[in-house]
Symmetry: C2
Subunit: 437 residues, 2 copies
């Protein structure tokens, strides 16, 4: 057992970086036991040295000189916690080139540039660990890459964006609008000042992309699959869904069906008897299906300081003991399933939820159902409540109409939607969501 210390540098001392430092410093003995050697936090790189921090680091650890850290041959591992692509990509490449292993939580970077980074790391005999990049403290990457290694993963259905899940939970449980729920998420620290990447579905889609790459070895670009956020939903949608026995979640899905990969990340109606319907606040929940093990579910905090730091430090221990060096070069990344085709989005077959605001007058329902019928879409259920107060600018009362369709294809549904939008009797908003069942 090697007892030489593992020298570590953290780049980016934000919330997660401070959490990692806290674990390494506060429980050094326990970490030494588990790693079989001391883990020594040698440097922590920040942009602004003068900013106050609520963690005490030894003299000389904090620096704003990233070059000195990347060039320091004594440093074995870089914990790369800078977000976005630029300069994170360069930092990571330089770390690898200078012989360091990298632990990161940056899912945007791995989703967009993972292929070249993984490739370079492998050529250099280094490894990249990223348990923290997807589902925070939930042991999802480890499960996909180790526990399920006797399986072909055939289905991933996952709630991967804690911010969106928190907002949806707030809206429904506290009867508040989307805007108020976003404000509350910002106050509690779950949403950034600009929460766009969370609420528009990008974050969930990036994480799904990483999971698909790990389980099938193929990269699917963000523009190659359906992606939609919760930012187009209103409280009314959640209430109608509930009335019908469903819960709305931002659901990322990858299903292997007859050699085709169905993939999308969208707000989705989930039946209340599906375990994925029951995950509240900023928690993540993931259903994985393997052809041997069947379905397994994992859940826990997908973000937050200590949950994410826990995943980062677990990876650090993987590096320290040598597990990472074994696991990384044998990921399914390197055994791509080129036989699998991405299912064209038009062919994806599901049921749909449709909320329309329509004029309350004769023929309207016939007009709408005729359009659906022309596209061979049949109606499974329909809810129309009485008209609220009448808008004086309208000749007729405007009433909400909620339709659940039977199974149809995305292509047919989109074509019907386009036609419906042209009807005189329909007012905005026009809300559509797929149903998972």
């Amino acid at each position: 057992m090697s007892s030489s210390p593992l020298n570590v540098a953290i780049i980016g001392m934000g919330t997660v970086g401070s959490g990692v430092a806290k674990i390494l410093l506060d429980r050094a003995d326990q970490m030494t036991n588990r790693a079989g050697r001391p883990i020594h936090l040698k440097r922590a790189v920040v942009r602004d040295l003068s900013r106050p921090r609520n963690i005490e680091l030894a003299e000389g650890v904090l620096t704003d000189d990233i070059d000195s850290v990347l060039n320091d041959d004594d440093i074995d591992v870089i914990i790369q916690l800078v977000g976005g692509i630029d300069p994170a990509y360069d930092i990571m490449l330089r770390a690898l080139e200078s012989g360091k292993d990298v632990v990161t939580a940056n899912k945007a970077l791995l989703c967009e540039k993972g292929e070249s980074l993984y490739q370079r790391a492998r050529e250099l005999g280094r490894c990249i660990c990223f348990e923290a990049a997807v589902a925070g403290g939930v042991p999802l990457i480890e499960t996909v890459t180790q526990a399920m290694s006797a399986n072909q993963i055939t289905s991933i259905e996952a709630i991967l964006n804690g911010t969106s899940n928190y907002i949806l939970t707030q809206m429904f449980s506290h009867d508040v609008s989307y805007d108020d729920a976003v404000k509350s998420a910002q106050e509690i620290g779950y949403a950034e000042a600009d929460p766009a990447m969370d609420v528009d579905g990008t974050d969930a889609a990036q994480k799904l992309g990483i999971l698909v790459q790990l389980s099938l070895g193929i990269k699917v670009g963000l523009d190659e699959f359906l992606r939609q956020g919760i930012d187009t939903l209103s409280l009314a949608d959640l209430k109608y869904a509930s009335e019908l026995g469903y819960t709305v979640k931002l659901l990322a899905v990858a299903n292997l069906i007859d050699g085709q990969l169905e993939m999308h990340a969208q707000p989705t109606l989930i039946r209340n008897d599906n375990p994925l319907a029951h995950v509240e606040d900023a928690y993540n929940k993931i259903a994985l299906e393997g052809d041997a093990v069947g379905k397994i579910w994992l859940s826990g905090m997908g973000a937050g300081q200590m949950a994410t730091a826990s995943a980062v430090v677990a990876n650090l221990i993987d590096v320290a003991v040598g597990r990472a060096a074994i696991t990384f070069p044998r990921l399914d990344l390197w055994n791509p399933r080129h036989d699998i085709k991405i299912m064209p989005r038009e062919e994806i077959s599901r049921r749909y939820f449709l909320r329309l605001n329509v004029e309350d007058r004769p023929h309207v329902l016939a007009d709408i159902t005729n359009v659906l019928g022309d596209h061979e879409i049949s109606i499974a259920s329909l809810v129309q409540h009485e008209a609220p107060e009448v808008d004086p600018n309208e000749s007729f009362p405007i009433v909400p109409l909620v339709i659940m369709t039977h199974r149809t294809t995305e292509g047919r549904f989109q074509a019907a939607s386009r036609e419906l939008e042209q009807l005189d009797c329909i007012r905005a908003p026009f809300v559509r969501m797929p149903v998972n069942d």
Copy 2:
């Protein structure tokens, strides 16, 4: 990357053994990719060669000569699937002594004899892998030993016996008696002809013992903590619990509280808003709490041919790539928390559910509540329904009385129970269960 094959022998070709062979034979290429070398099923040891099997093995693989397998220096790994202690213990020791790593699903053996086996394996530089021994296909051992390595695990609350969970689900969902539900479990293959170890709580307690040993490094014997099975429950208990907003599960619990370990495995009332209340049929579900990551939940099939085989083969790949050799000697087994004391069972503090059959006459309720009051137990809620038809052998109608207490200690509750059982007004059965909240 080593490309020499890993030679494997399975001892015990029952349901799980056949499942393991099926994965190794049917998807040899995929396993080779993931293991970095071929995994070669060299021998499969059975007791009775003449028994028909629904798996086709190459000429010479099947044998009833266990010695030739244990003495075969070419065999690298033994998959030990013989249940019970004897001869499983000897087989495992001999396998280790002859230089083989061992993968096993035998939780009884690990719970009772784990210490000496682990010790011997470590002295010999070998490893023992046992993902399949606890919670079948759920990646629980891996999560406890790898993903949570930045944490002290502070709480384990788990549904670990699929047979009991199936029986409880059947009883409640199909309104059938305990005996009928056991019969149905036997028909579907979830329960043995003699299901004693499953339904009396032994199996769940053994698994809890393994988890505690892995997360705290201390061995707690089966006689050192409260253990109770579902075999004393009736449908009425599940219905009363439901009426009060709870679900009854066989729950294994280990909580670290101020340096003391509270530990028990008993049928327990779980509030319906707790995720552990929602796991049906033969599924397992586990809530783990770590001091960094917070709570995480895992669920999936805890038994069954392919789910268990999936865990066995994952371990086999861990051995093939060298991960097992790294992980095993660094388990927390080797860093025992001797500072932790087992909380005396009398001091465990919980709420309780109590179902009594009592005479329907004046003073009875006063007598009962006086006994509870004498032991400083106060009543949180009470349900008494009207008397069913009168038994002609009784002078008074006999009515069921259900009491939920406020929090009290096990010691007080047991003392009160003993006194209650002496009261003339009480008839059998006398059902008590703790409440988890």
